[in-house]
């Protein structure tokens, strides 16, 4: 069953056609990867799915909901979480607080209840912390729980951002270059976690990635993009062999 359906998606910035007539479907429970050279429009597609941009044409369907009509902050409530290419964490807050902010879409209390810290708020807080603690265990972040994010090394921040997305307990996880800036060992960990996320947590993953090794290891299907247009879709091996993809990467 398809969880996310992108139909004839196009966006233009002035005269620049960043994404042209892109269509694909992400099935429930798979890891779907978008690859392509720099400037191919991969992150633009992510931003279109997260409603940060409005498309010039086409639409994005999440189940029965048309995402393209929503505001950026409505997406989380539907069960879509994302990470960013350049890490967008809450720098001055602790790791724990970052993950707790990830739980925001599950909040049930209002401003007034928060102000008085009614018993309901306390109960909700305990539940949120329990959920966050499970993510901390999964990603081995216990050591950094109380640390301020701003002072953490890049590799750890990357994991914290993944954790924040997982704390949302999403149905669909968008990962924008999860391995960028990571060393070999950290990339290896990332590959394991992506597999865990898919198999143990049952979360569908849509990612943008450059590291073909990682792509081949974790992806069920791959879509290759160049100049905002789809070159090929298929299993990692099929796409890697596709003549147009080879040409795009090696310059033919």
């Amino acid at each position: 069953m398809s969880l996310l359906r992108v139909e004839n998606l196009s966006i233009q910035f002035g005269g620049i056609k960043a994404v042209t007539d892109v269509g694909f479907e992400v099935m429930e429970g798979e890891v779907f990867t978008i690859i392509g050279p720099n400037g191919a429009g991969k992150t633009t597609i992510f931003n279109l799915i997260s409603c940060l941009y409005a498309p010039t044409a086409g639409r994005v369907m999440f189940g029965d909901v048309e995402l393209t009509r929503l505001a950026p902050h409505d997406i989380a409530g539907l069960g879509i979480a994302r990470t960013f290419q350049n890490i967008e964490l809450f720098e001055q807050a602790t790791v724990l607080d970052n993950l707790l902010i990830g739980r925001h879409c599950h909040r049930r209390t209002g401003l007034l209840a928060d102000l008085l810290f009614l018993p309901g708020v306390q109960r909700a807080e305990r539940e949120q912390r329990e959920a966050v603690e499970r993510v901390i265990d999964l990603l081995d972040l216990a050591h950094y729980r109380e640390a301020r994010v701003g002072g953490l090394p890049y590799g750890v921040r990357k994991v914290v951002e993944l954790g924040r997305a997982l704390a949302m307990q999403p149905r669909l996880l968008l990962l924008d270059e999860p391995s960028s800036g990571l060393n070999v060992e950290e990339t290896d960990d990332m590959a394991w976690w992506i597999r865990d996320i898919k198999e143990e947590l049952g979360i569908t993953v849509l990612m943008v990635e450059h590291d073909m090794n990682l792509v081949a290891r974790v992806s069920d299907r791959v879509l290759a993009l160049n100049y905002g247009q789809v070159l090929a879709t298929g299993t990692p091996a099929e796409v890697q062999r596709h003549p147009e993809v080879v040409e795009a990467y090696l310059g033919g």
Binding site: P72, A76, F84, F90, G102, H104, E125, R129
Partner: protein, 358 residues
């Protein structure tokens, strides 16, 4: 050194994290309650001012320190609170109601300025809030039928439940009570989802949105709350001064308020209170220092603003975390006494330059 061993989530949620805090805050409460019996009327009056400025500081800190929206128009919210109180008192409205109205009306003013401010950020927001400050000041000057214009309004002492608060200690307790309640409310807010949403907006708007935090809703809420708290302070301020006129609520006051929280330590409620203490204590210290300085310096006009400005520059250069940051370092030094490392608080170099990597 103290190590807090955590065994339950409640330990993180509680306001007082360990016995030491309970002891010291308890001692502070006792000292503050006992103050009228100990200090002279003059110093008590200064303490009342500190409580009122701390109240404004808490309001401004919520907006600037926690939500990241800089405001140079907070004197206007203070004015809205003060004038609401003055006008309602003149019409015979009981104090409890007029205080609530002062907070409410200032909160509404906060929403009015907050809504257009949603599209502005950084320096543009500063300019917009500044403009708002000028507009409010101008309205107060021109709307003579209500505000008596530049003539100002003289306030009578508060009567609360039949008691007229004419003594200094009565107003002191009132200001202290309001400050305590507001502090507790804000502390609650900050340990709950709403406060975390504010922090999220401050640190990264784009990922706050991806977490499902509506910028419009939370920025407006922050503006409204901040303005409402400042409005409450305004009502007390009006009674403390006993006379208000539009020129008291000018840009200079707004700048002073902003400087107060920066010097106190941005991003902490301690900072708001420390800043208030600094703001009230500095003129006294300058007055004392005047006698010891050479006449050529001591009798210069503008000595106080110069010292104020100098300290602000020094704080920004050497201690961006303000007085509260300095206090944390001193405390850490004492706690770890022989083992203190000079590099403990050295800020890490960031090689990835971006707007947020401060």
């Amino acid at each position: 050194m103290r190590f807090v061993f955590k065994t339950s989530y409640d330990q993180d949620i509680r306001l007082l994290k360990h016995g030491g805090q309970t002891f010291w805050y308890g001692l502070l409460v006792v000292a503050l309650v006992a103050a009228p019996a100990v200090v002279s009327e003059y110093y008590l009056s200064q303490l009342t001012f500190i409580a009122i400025y701390a109240l404004i500081g808490v309001g401004l800190m919520l907006l600037t320190g926690y939500t990241g929206q800089v405001s140079l128009g907070h004197a206007a919210f203070l004015a809205v609170g003060a004038y609401t109180e003055a006008v309602l008192q003149a019409h015979g409205v009981p104090f409890g109601l007029s205080l609530a109205a002062a907070g409410l009306l200032a909160g509404l003013a906060g929403i009015v300025i907050g809504l257009p401010a949603l599209r502005l950020s950084g320096i543009y927001l500063v300019i917009a809030t500044m403009a708002f400050g000028f507009i409010v000041q101008e309205v107060l000057t021109r709307w003579e039928s209500v505000t008596r214009g530049s003539l100002g309004i003289t306030l009578r002492p508060i009567s609360l439940a039949g008691v007229r608060l004419v003594e200094e200690w009565q107003l002191y307790y009132l200001a202290l009570a309001v400050l305590t309640l507001v502090l507790l409310g804000v502390l609650n807010l900050l340990r709950a989802p709403t406060g975390r949403a504010f922090v999220a907006i401050r640190d990264s708007e784009i990922s706050a949105q991806s977490m499902g935090i509506g910028l419009a809703r939370y920025k407006t809420a922050s503006f409204a709350l901040s303005a409402a708290i400042t409005g409450l302070a305004g009502a007390l301020y009006a009674h403390k001064l006993q006379f208000i006129s539009p020129e008291q609520f000018g840009i200079i006051l707004s700048v002073e308020l902003a400087m107060m929280i920066f010097i106190g330590g941005i991003g902490s409620l301690h900072g708001a209170v420390f800043g208030a203490i600094f703001l009230i204590a500095l003129p006294q210290l300058v007055a004392v220092a005047k006698d010891y300085l050479p006449a050529a310096i001591g009798h210069q006009t503008g000595l106080e603003p110069t010292v104020f400005g100098l300290i602000l520059v020094l704080v920004i250069v050497f201690e961006p975390q303000g007085l509260y940051g300095r206090w944390l370092k001193v405390r850490h030094y004492l706690q770890t006494f022989p083992l203190y490392k000079a590099d403990m608080f050295r800020r890490q170099r960031t090689f990835m330059k971006s707007e947020r990597a401060r």
